[in-house]
């Protein structure tokens, strides 16, 4: 009898840890890892640094190709999932290939968030949440002189490390997602803003973008307060949301993320979810919560895989992390349930 076919949607921290755990627990099983990304798994916090480096994106991969070969994993990069048919226990890929699974682990991670008030201008906005975005932005870097960052989340802050040393003229228009996922009071926010200004960033506070338009090659951002900023590139940095597009109308329970119990089991049989895409029920707080960050993803990925192998282990809320911005250390408890446990 053929062994189990484990399919993991997502080639990030959670997906990789899940794959490794599955292989340890089931040496004979077939494991397929599917990713919409064209490049290998790269730590998100290294992407901003990549912009300023001479490195090839492949050099930043957390695991070399040999890691997948040694674990006998079938890696499918650049293959977005169109939908999951839970009744049929199959996955339809965007290129119309159907893959059957015995056990499915959804580790699809998170993607950039486009706030509703910016959704009309989405085509004019540059995103930065994965390797693909990093390659695209890097190719644009030589032609960029002026950058406007909308929102100003933690990724946006990291991007300053690439833009400022390169002499780019940076404006940050903060919205309510500023410094996401930091939890901080108005005082610390102001200190951070002043620290950024000291580094040469023009910070627009307490304002709201009303329009982004294109004039020739230049993009013009207008605010309610009457500010107009001309830019070569307008980056949206307003936090992250779980990647769940392929689960629309599939029958699985989702809210912000895939709803899972403390064993990371989803609402349909033989399906688990882990990492940033999972919204787990925590007994500690008697509520569902999404968590972000590498440690969260690794721990949940491992737990989901163990449970898919037959264990019955509960996951716990991850410890909060810390973030250093402008020389100040911040404890991060997350935004509406997110935490970031990386250090800058």
């Amino acid at each position: 009898m053929a062994g189990n076919h484990y399919v993991i949607i997502g080639n990030g921290a959670a997906g990789n840890k899940a794959a490794e755990t599955l292989r340890k627990g089931d040496p004979e099983g077939r494991i397929t890892v599917i990713s919409a990304e064209p490049v290998h798994f790269i730590h998100r916090h290294r992407l901003a640094g990549f912009l300023a480096e001479e490195a090839n994106i492949a050099d930043l991969a957390v695991h070399p190709p040999s890691w997948y070969e040694e674990l006998n994993l079938r890696l499918r990069l650049n293959q977005p999932v169109e939908r999951v048919d839970f009744e049929d226990k199959s996955i339809l890929l965007a290129h119309r290939e159907r893959i059957k699974y015995d056990k499915l682990l959804i580790c699809s991670g998170a993607k950039h968030r486009i706030p509703e008030y910016l959704s009309h201008f989405e085509k004019l906005l540059t995103k930065f949440s994965n390797g693909k975005h990093a390659i695209e932005l890097k190719s644009m870097m030589p032609g960029i002189k002026r950058v406007t960052i909308l929102g100003g989340d933690a990724i946006g802050l990291q991007l300053l490390n690439a833009f400022l040393p390169a002499g780019k003229d940076v404006t940050m228009i903060m919205d309510e997602y500023r410094f996401w996922p930091l939890e901080s009071d108005a005082g610390s926010m102001d200190r951070l803003a002043r620290a950024l200004e000291a580094k040469g960033v023009k910070v627009v506070r307490n304002d709201h973008v009303t329009e982004v338009e294109k004039r020739g090659e230049t993009k013009v951002v207008s605010t309610r307060g009457g500010v107009k900023v001309e830019s070569d590139v307008v980056l949206v940095c307003s936090g992250m949301v779980p990647c769940l597009d392929f689960l629309a109308d599939s029958g699985i329970d989702t809210q912000m993320g895939v709803l899972v119990d403390d064993k990371l089991r989803a609402s349909v049989e033989d399906v688990w979810a882990a990492g940033e895409c999972a919204q787990m029920y925590y007994e500690e707080i008697k509520d569902y919560r999404c968590q972000t960050g590498y440690q969260n993803a690794v721990r949940k990925g491992e737990k989901a895989a163990l449970n898919a192998l037959g264990a019955d282990e509960s996951a716990k809320l991850c410890e909060p992390g810390k973030l250093v911005v402008g020389g100040e250390e911040f404890i991060t408890y997350g935004w509406k349930g997110f935490t970031l446990d990386e250090t800058s």
Binding site: T32, P38, V39, H40, N56, I57, A58, P64, P65, S66, W67, Y68, E69, L73, R74, L75, R76, L77, N78, Q79, L92, L93, A94, H95, R96, E97, R98, I99, K100, G131, K132, I135, E136
Partner: protein, 589 residues
């Protein structure tokens, strides 16, 4: 060192236009100054399905052999392309149709079969073809556009090539194919992000020479025409048929004739007659045809008649493998037939040499009144490359040793010092002679005396020695000079792989040299012996099981020969040879 050395394969089913894409790709890259070589793999049966692969190797420097591992695979048919993944390099690229007509299973989709270090790009070939041309038949041209877009190759150069190829067609064919090409190109530019390392970029602009894209069959046909061949008879056989097709169009306007005979025996018979009457005449066939022609080869040796026979080798024995390349007719070419029947055997090593040596074959045949067998093979016959053809020597258009006035009454087979007898064409008053397959004396009468047979046998052998001294070029040495660890001797189409392998071995600091001889009979034995003396070991790579060239050399040199004998149904690659060079030199060390 090469800046660019890439191999691209387009894989599809018969009817997908797979080979057409390969042809346009090579032509365009040639226009841009790249050196390219393409080789098509296709099924033996003429039908509407079956696997086709266009294999294209591209470099900034001349290429003589196919690549063993592939940098980019374009799939027009996933089930067939899955097999091709075995040769895709780590870091290689796959372009595939991301919008098939219906849902496909895991088993039949190429997307799930890539190694973790490979790069996959989906392009909806069929959908883009439908949108841009209102039909799905241009999937191949969408794929071509995708190649141009992904690797950033000048799209306008492709469009110029499409204009050249389709511009003369009725209706708006050229516009349609360009629309499909542009759809693929633009899709890649707008939708895909290139993340792989495969690149056609060169530091300096490539020199654009006046290349002529052609395959060995085209080159041979052209060489024949330029050499004054005015009669061709043949029976269709893969991979030689194209020569007849070309000549059937080109010879009649020049006053020549082409006859499709009922079989190979008739064909060689007709060529024998035409040659005897003084017309430069040729037939082209493959191994099975040469088998049938064997009796006439001996007859032409005996009657000292100048015929040219092209043998484009394929896998054998018998009907064998009609569409797979092999080099297993060497001993057949050298020794076929009864008795001592010396003949000249030539094996061109490149497309350019197919042109030059076909022409030269007519000269040698006429000058030395002997059959000349030109050994090509399926690879050489069908591989296309950007050739730079040499100017042919017009003085060689006439090489017959006609009898001088006053020689009337001297027999057709007069014994001469150089072994070549004066040859009067039939119908020349005063020079009538009798034709027969029997041994004849100087007065062209049948004779069974021992001294006559000895004299005539020696004469027939002697004229080949004359040819060797006067008209057979000395072997050419490549690679390291002086004493070397390893000497490599190739022949025919595999010589290109040998030269490239030795070049790479030298770059890697290995002590190796190569020796090339195009004329395989008669051989410059002294030169070969000298080369062999310079080498600690000798390697002979060839595409046959029994090591036919190695055996032929062993009859002349007193040193063990290491054979690299492959019957893999595909051309030898320089890596095949290089690995063996490394192994043998390591052993020596």
């Amino acid at each position: 060192m090469r800046q660019v050395d890439l191999t691209i394969e387009i894989c599809g089913s018969s009817g997908d236009g797979t080979l057409a894409v390969g042809e346009i790709l090579v032509n365009t890259l040639s226009d841009l100054g790249y050196r390219a070589l393409s080789f098509d793999v296709y099924p033996a049966e003429i039908r509407g399905f079956g696997k086709c692969v266009a294999h294209c190797r591209v470099s900034d420097k001349p290429v003589y052999s196919v690549g063993r591992s592939v940098d980019a695979l374009v799939s027009l048919n996933d089930p067939y392309s899955i097999e091709q993944l075995a040769t895709l390099k780590p870091g290689g690229v796959v372009l595939f149709d991301s919008w098939p007509l219906r849902e496909v299973s895991e088993e039949s989709c190429v997307a799930g079969r890539l190694g973790p270090g490979m790069y996959l790009y989906g392009v909806p070939f069929g959908e883009l073809s439908q949108r841009s041309t209102h039909g799905a038949r241009s999937r191949n041209l969408v794929a071509l556009g995708a190649i141009a877009g992904l690797f950033d190759i000048d799209a306008e150069a492709f469009e110029a090539g499409l204009d050249r190829k389709f511009g003369g067609k009725k209706g708006n064919v050229a516009q349609t194919v360009k629309a499909a090409f542009r759809a693929g190109h633009d899709y890649v530019k707008e939708k895909l992000l290139k993340v792989d390392p495969v690149s056609f970029a060169v530091k300096e602009e490539l020199e654009k020479k006046d290349f002529q894209i052609m395959n060995g069959n085209q080159a041979a046909a052209r060489g024949a025409i330029e050499a004054g061949c005015r009669f061709y008879a043949g029976y269709p056989i893969t991979p030689a048929t194209k020569i007849m097709e070309i000549l059937s169009a080109k010879l009649p306007p020049l006053g020549g004739r082409v006859v499709q005979a009922e079989d190979e025996i008739s064909a060689i018979g007709m060529v024998t007659g035409a040659a005897m009457m003084g017309t430069r005449a040729m037939t082209a066939t493959s191994g099975p045809g040469v088998c049938l022609m064997t009796e006439f080869i001996g007859y032409n040796v005996m009657t000292e008649n100048p015929v040219v026979i092209v043998d484009s080798q394929r896998g054998g024995p018998a009907t064998g493998l009609p569409t797979k390349t092999e080099q297993s007719d060497l001993l057949l070419a050298l020794f076929s037939g009864n008795g001592d029947a010396p003949r000249i055997v030539v094996a061109p090593t490149s497309v350019e040499e197919c042109h030059y040596w076909t022409s030269e074959a007519f000269y040698l045949a006429e000058k030395y009144q002997t059959p000349v067998i030109l050994l090509m093979d399926l690879f050489l016959s069908t591989c296309k490359t950007n050739a730079v053809l040499s100017e042919l020597d017009k003085a060689k258009l006439s090489a017959n040793k006609s009898p001088s006035p006053g020689e009337e009454g001297v027999g057709r087979f007069k014994v001469t010092e150089d072994g070549v007898s004066p040859r009067a064409l039939p119908g020349t008053p005063g020079f009538e002679w009798t034709v027969s397959g029997l041994e004849q004396n100087e007065l062209d009468s049948p004779s069974y005396y021992a001294n006559v047979h000895t004299e005539m046998t020696e004469k027939r052998a002697r004229k080949l020695m004359t040819a060797l001294q006067n008209d057979v070029p000395r072997p050419e040495r490549f690679g390291a000079k002086g004493k070397v660890k390893l000497g490599v001797m190739g022949w025919g189409s595999t010589m290109g792989a040998v030269i490239e392998a030795v070049e790479r071995a030298n770059e890697a600091g290995l002590s190796a040299a190569a020796l090339k001889q195009v004329v395989l009979n008669p051989l410059h034995v002294e030169d070969i012996e000298k080369f062999v003396d310079d080498c600690e070991k000798i390697l002979v790579p060839e595409l046959n099981y029994s090591g036919q060239f190695a055996r032929w050399l062993s009859m002349h040199v007193n040193k063990p020969i290491h054979g690299l004998n492959m019957v893999k149904c595909s051309p030898l690659t320089y890596l095949d040879v290089l690995e063996e060079i490394e192994r043998l030199i390591t052993e020596t060390s």
